[in-house]
Amino acid sequence: MLSESRGGRVFQYLFVLVVAISLNFFLPRMMPGNPLALLAGVDVGLMTQEDRDKVMAEAGLDRPLIEQYASYWGDLLRGDFGYSYRQKEPIANLVLARLPWSLFLAGSSLVLAAIVGIAAGAYSAWKRASVIDVGLLWSMITINSMPSFWLGMLLIAIVSVRLGWLPSFGAETPAAGYEGLDRVIDIGRHAILPVLTLTVLTIPAVYLTMRYTMLSVLGSDFIRTARAKGAGETRVLFAHAMRNSMAPVVTILALRLGFAFGGTVIIETVYSYPGLGRLMFEAVGGRDFPVMQAGFLLITIAVLASNLLADFLYPFLDPRTKGQ
């Protein structure tokens, strides 16, 4: 992967985007049954004749497939995601209102998971086969096997309901009229449990990668050289071992952001959090397919963008590829 040029990576991501958009276009048209219902997202029987004609004309179902495909792309490029006949609103508005909440959840939990995962992984590798290392390793493997929604439900049952410490749903207290700092605190309190759940579930992947990479780095010659030259243990740990283990971890973090975004569908459902994932879940429940597709597309774009970011960060983190 490293040998690939950055231009090649950009091209690959663009290609993935084309695949995702094509999936969005072809899936509803390939399914058995009336494509009109799948494209409009409401039962055909419930639609007015006017709406039906409008969907027909917009999707151009009477035109050749290739023409429909071209105009589908044209709409997307103009930022037109279509119209939700169920929620009676342009989908772009719906999606944009929800996006910041998901970015907030996924972003903050990823930062936290990176800090904890890297620190724990480095410590584990440094103190290899110690009680703490073995304990950490086993608990991380166990956490990896936990369903995210279950962890969320338990946290609500214990922290919100039994202890009454934190709110259990939403992003803010509805109609509380908080302003300024009060509102920030309110939003923060609502975010603690969802962010915690996502963080806990993201840590193992970071930890396992960091530990594995550190172990191989610690066994390499330049560490021995550093020690032989009289570098202190602290310096060996931070300047040599950890520094050289960061690059693969960043790749995993970028991939994890994808999972964190995907995971928001479940976390936001458990905590009734008004993000993109929750929107997607509601759309699935209400069979509002156009909204569901828009959610999928936006999550894909976010994931690709973060992967791209990681690719650009990589050379700065990996001393071996510097100056190439």
Binding site: Q12, F15, I141, S145, M146, F261, V265, G285, T300, N307
Partner: protein
């Protein structure tokens, strides 16, 4: 791309606290303990699934009590919102969850091994197949899974197909890299030199060498598949008739069980079962991988 695929790199790692010098004491490696733990967890679950009929006190589809009963002698884990026995639901759910896990993994590993063999052996197909693998690994997994499930409709077979179609890619990559090494070995080159056909080489020389690796991947994929199935069912996209552990949790969520004391008997047990199954398979896969993966063997 399962998280379980991440290498842990503790080949031959000794359990803490036992000094190297005590040579005569039996020492267990982490991978051995993992294997024993994993196999016993899975064995119990498989037996539960096989003997579900004998083990469960009631028919899980039957309304045998009042709704929302608390645990009692008659209903050890209480009853759900329509008066079905939760314990019986969970025992029968073991069948569904394990079946979906195994079937999905079988499908995914069949795909992954085929693609891995083709890509690793026929160099011309390599770049195209690996591009496909890369695309599948990059697309956000869960949203795509949800979208496919929503279009295809809720049934056990659909669940198996869509999860399988999305998780073979990681295994294909692992198997391909193994095939690449084997294909360069002298006996393969020699076999080709004396005129063996590609088919003969693949099935007689290469496939046997990757079988163990594929089994390790299979076990890891079962673990991932069980988790994904539970997530789909939790979102209300699972088979409505064949209730899995995830389905039980879906209803617990819909009825707000986690807001009442019922979380202890309605939410806790199904989740623990999912953890046991996913962890059991992950542990077996982990210890198999330690034995098979050439990259881990080189370490230390």
């Amino acid at each position: 791309m399962s998280v379980a695929n991440i290498k842990i790199g503790s080949d031959g790692e000794r359990v803490a606290g036992i000094p190297e010098s005590r040579k005569h004491k039996i020492r267990f490696s982490a991978s051995f303990i993992a294997a024993v733990l994993g196999v016993s967890m899975i064995l119990i679950l498989v037996l539960t699934a096989v003997f579900a009929k004998q083990l469960s006190p009631y028919d899980p589809a039957e309304r045998v009590g009042k709704p929302f009963e608390v645990p009692s002698v008659a209903h050890k884990l209480g009853t759900n919102d329509i008066g079905q026995d939760i314990l019986s639901e969970l025992i029968y759910g073991t069948r569904v969850s394990l079946t979906v896990g195994f079937a999905t993994a079988a499908f995914a590993i069949f795909l992954g091994t085929s693609v891995g063999l083709l890509a690793g052996y026929f160099r011309r197909m390599d770049s195209i197949l690996m591009r496909v693998v890369d695309i599948i690994l990059v697309i956000p997994f869960l949203p795509l899974l949800i979208m496919l499930a929503a279009y295809l409709g809720r049934s056990m077979i659909n669940t198996v197909i869509i999860i399988g179609l999305l998780i073979w890619a990681g295994s294909a990559r692992v198997i391909r890299s193994q095939v690449l090494t084997i294909a360069k070995k002298e006996y393969v080159v020699a076999a080709r030199a004396v005129g063996a056909t590609d088919r003969h080489i693949i099935f007689r020389h290469i496939l046997p060498q990757v079988t163990l690796l594929a089994i390790g991947q299979f076990v890891l994929v079962v673990s991932t598949a069980i988790l994904l199935e539970s997530a789909l069912s939790f979102l209300g996209l699972g088979d409505p008739i064949q209730k899995s552990w995830g389905t039980v949790l879906y209803w617990a969520q819909v009825r707000g069980a986690f807001l009442t004391p019922a979380w202890l008997w309605w939410v806790m047990p199904p989740g623990l079962l999912i953890v046991c199954a996913a962890l059991g398979f992950a542990l077996i896969g982990f210890s198999l991988e330690q034995r098979v993966d050439p990259r881990l063997k080189q370490k230390r």
